[in-house]
């Protein structure tokens, strides 16, 4: 185990205020991008572009506002397992729905 991991679990990571304000600004810009992208006629792609931007925004919220960037690795595995399980639900549900 690296010294870095060790430090993560013993110390409270104090994020500079600037980081939060920067993340917030990025989220606001991405909201503008989503609205702007919706004005462009991309037919079937519209929803995928919207989802892609929403995923990018979610990543910012999860990593910085929810502190996952600074949590111990156990939390990463938690998230990966949970999202992995959710993807399985989505795929299985749609496999059933699309081919019935």
């Amino acid at each position: 185990m690296s010294a870095n991991d060790h430090a993560h679990e013993h110390e409270v990571h104090i994020t500079p205020y600037k980081v939060y304000i920067g993340v917030w600004a990025a989220l606001i810009v991405l909201t503008g991008v989503t609205v702007g992208a919706a004005l462009v006629d991309m037919k079937q792609m519209t929803i995928f572009v919207a989802l892609f931007i929403a995923c990018a925004k979610s990543l910012l919220v999860i990593l910085y506002f929810m502190h996952i960037a600074y949590e111990s690795r156990v939390f990463w595995w938690f998230l990966i397992s949970a999202f992995g399980a959710y993807i399985v639900f989505v795929v299985l549900t749609f496999a059933d729905y699309a081919f019935r």
Binding site: H10, E11, L27, T31, A38, T46, F65, F89, V90, T93
Partner: protein, 222 residues
């Protein structure tokens, strides 16, 4: 990892008593385990909203034109403004925790107040949006809605269900923030013991996350 998880309160804890690292000195206080428990709870929320998103996707693929029409009837500027309100409330929540970590209780309380204020603004705007639709006779179980095509019914029923569940979370979140504010004011939540505020923050950011998906999926597919 095992060494840190089993770290017991000890004499060395006292050496840290005046800084931000002294949590092992508080008997029974384990912020990492607390946050893990909160994340487990958040995953159950993922199942609640996740199932609704799957239902939304299924209806969307079944009635794409009706969903586009329904989406066109929602007010994009209002939805975008509410998105900004909620994102800003997430910022103030994060700043409330960051301020308390630095021992700035005064700023922390102000930021909690701001978060609750934004939550209130969000709910009022959402209520006006619902109100406008209800005035047109569009709400679950209404005669007007029942007379509409099935795709339109699916859209509006999903809209009310998902934004309703989300608004319920906003209201619960605002209540929790008021509760942690009270505990911060009487120092039961303090710079050395602030996991309750962190966990309520996690809940609040989840509410934000759900809206990050709800906004484009409902307002921007016209």
């Amino acid at each position: 990892m095992s060494d840190s998880l089993s770290a017991a309160p000890s004499a060395t804890g006292d050496a840290h008593a005046d800084d931000h690292h002294g949590h092992y000195g508080v008997p029974g206080y384990d912020p990492i385990a607390s946050r893990m428990g909160m994340w487990l709870f958040l995953f159950t929320e993922l199942l609640l909203f996740g199932a609704l998103f799957i239902a939304f996707a299924a209806y969307l693929s079944k009635y794409p034109t009706y969903f586009a029409e329904g989406s066109g009837s929602l007010n994009v500027p209002v939805g975008a403004f509410n998105t900004v309100v909620l994102l800003t409330s997430s910022l103030t929540m994060a700043l409330a925790i960051a301020a308390l970590q630095r021992g700035d209780k005064n700023l922390s309380i102000k930021m909690l107040n701001a978060t609750v204020l934004f939550a209130g603004v969000f709910c009022v705007i959402k209520a006006f949006e619902w109100g406008a639709k209800i005035e047109m006779g569009i709400y679950p179980g209404s005669a007007t809605l029942a007379a509409m095509d099935q795709g339109k019914q699916a859209f509006y029923n999903m809209y009310y269900t998902m934004t309703g569940f989300h608004a319920l979370h906003v209201i619960i979140g605002a209540g929790l923030i008021l509760w942690v504010k009270k505990r911060t004011l009487d120092d039961r939540v303090n710079p050395k013991r602030l996991v309750l505020m962190e966990n309520i923050g996690l809940y609040w950011h989840l509410v934000d996350l759900v809206w990050i998906f709800l906004f484009p999926l409902y307002y921007l597919i016209a």
